[in-house]
Symmetry: C2
Subunit: 304 residues, 2 copies
């Protein structure tokens, strides 16, 4: 239950602390069964990439979606941590010189600057791999059937047909500006797929009905759209100090966004509409969904 | 049953054809459930990276280990294809300029040369992701429990505590030559872990007893050691024409190998010992293990 914006902020922050404690433990130097050793340089790089002060929005969505439908919180935290490993690996690889060539991320040196490029590639690979380890591990404590469904859904959201494919489209967009439909597909893949997965995963963890799973998935799609529009709006209205990274880059590179195509006014109205749609999808759950509804508003209103 | 070296060659080649047909189908442009689109440039790059004329040794080990213990061949082929995706992703990333900076692989341009560096990074990421998709997918047709065990074992073999960790140690070895124990750990991680997984996975697919699983795992460890020694010997005795890639590189970079540390004679004797150990582990299975025994000899005798 979230009665106020302050209560929401506390809930989001508490979740971030729980996720970070879990990620810190998962990336300790304790060698686990079937591991031969944990080379310190690589472990430290993975730790740096993951313990980077993010808002942990995706894990928050996993946990809140799971709790809404009666799922186990510990299991949800672990799946959330796995998803955060995927998100953080994608940031590390996207920042590489051959990709977006970014030197700052949340005001800190990107991984290939703080360590080196080879280590950044390997740390990304290892975080991606670790995500599936975390879901499949005994400690996650879900039925085998749920684990298999989560592995499959996460792989499809993150791979060729999801996030990685979206990044490929994004790189191509620097050369050939896509039309509106192309931009929508690109964004649904690059940022939407993981957010959709986050909400659907909560339902899967809870062993929810097919109806609830579809509803949470649709909710995830809506806030994925809101997230991206908010991001595109920030890119043209914010400055580097607020974002902790370079801004105005999309336009500078000639990359089309819905904001550049349709204008700020249209985008702001569209953003409101997505939040309304998302909120409506939660109506059957009443007050129990107050936190998820607040998350939709938070995503649209974020300043960084 | 393998009565002759010729029969073995045919069996290995037939398996490679089956694996390649499966990989070709898995990397077609058919968009699967939960995928949003398959961007053509990325799909083509993944296809190029995987359909590259390898011997498919790891999938062969999965299939032959599974068949030995009564496992389903179709399931074994799919797990073998997943493992090959991991192996091929690792080659793509290892070849990158920031890593080994190789321009040729099996006589063909490496992926970042044939496409570009960003695409090579993303294709590697997507192949790694796809491996877990393939194992978890319905078509693999194994009990959920086996799928979860396979996902976990593959992730541990490929990640921080396995192959990727081994590559990190390998990069570090260019600066600080490891001692013999360090080299053994590095090689067990970098090449041994996936070969060990291949053999153990066969037992897991067959739902074999814990004893059989341990035996196949130990067999995999032995031929992993043989594989690496044969590779190190080839590096000093072969030439680029036979290998289809640059040779003598390990020594040129000052990287220690057991061959450079102990000499060719010692390494050849050690190689024979590993093959004998591997063969002895198969004794309880009698003639049924003839193909696996032939694989151990093949690994030790390979010329490329």
């Amino acid at each position: 239950m979230v009665a106020s914006s302050e209560a929401f902020d506390i809930r989001l922050k508490t979740n971030a602390q729980e996720i970070e404690a879990l990620l810190d433990a998962l990336l300790s130097n304790d060698v686990r069964e079937d591991e031969i050793a944990r080379p310190e340089s690589l472990r430290a790089a993975m730790h740096y990439a993951v313990l980077n002060g993010g808002k942990r929005l995706r894990p928050f969505l996993v946990v809140e979606s799971a709790l809404l439908l009666g799922g186990d919180k510990e299991a949800a935290l672990r799946v959330g941590a796995a998803l955060e490993c995927i998100h953080c690996y994608s940031l590390v690889h996207d920042d590489l010189p051959a990709m977006d060539d970014d030197k700052l991320r949340r005001g800190k040196p990107t991984l290939h600057i703080a360590f080196d490029e080879a280590t950044a590639i390997l740390a990304g690979d290892s975080l991606l791999t670790y995500a599936f380890d975390i879901i499949a591990a005994d400690e996650t404590g879900l039925p085998e059937q749920s684990k298999v469904a989560l592995v499959l859904a996460l792989a499809r959201s993150a791979g060729l047909g999801g996030m990685a494919g979206g990044q490929a489209l994004d790189l191509a967009a620097e050369k050939n500006t896509p039309d509106e439909r192309g931009i929508v597909t690109l964004q649904a893949m690059k940022t939407g797929a993981l957010i959709r997965f986050a909400c659907e995963a909560g339902a899967m963890i809870a062993g929810a009905s097919s109806d609830d799973r579809k509803r949470l998935r649709a909710f995830g799609e809506k806030i994925g759209l809101a997230f991206q529009l908010a991001d595109d709006l920030l890119d043209v209205t914010s400055d580097a100090a607020t974002m902790g990274k370079a801004t105005g880059k999309d336009v500078g590179r000639g990359k089309g966004t819905l904001v550049s195509l349709r204008g700020i006014g249209w985008a702001e109205a569209e953003l409101r509409r997505h939040v309304e749609d998302a909120t409506q999808l939660l109506e059957p759950y009443g007050d129990a969904a107050a936190t998820l509804a607040a998350t939709a508003r938070f995503v649209a209103a974020r300043k960084s």
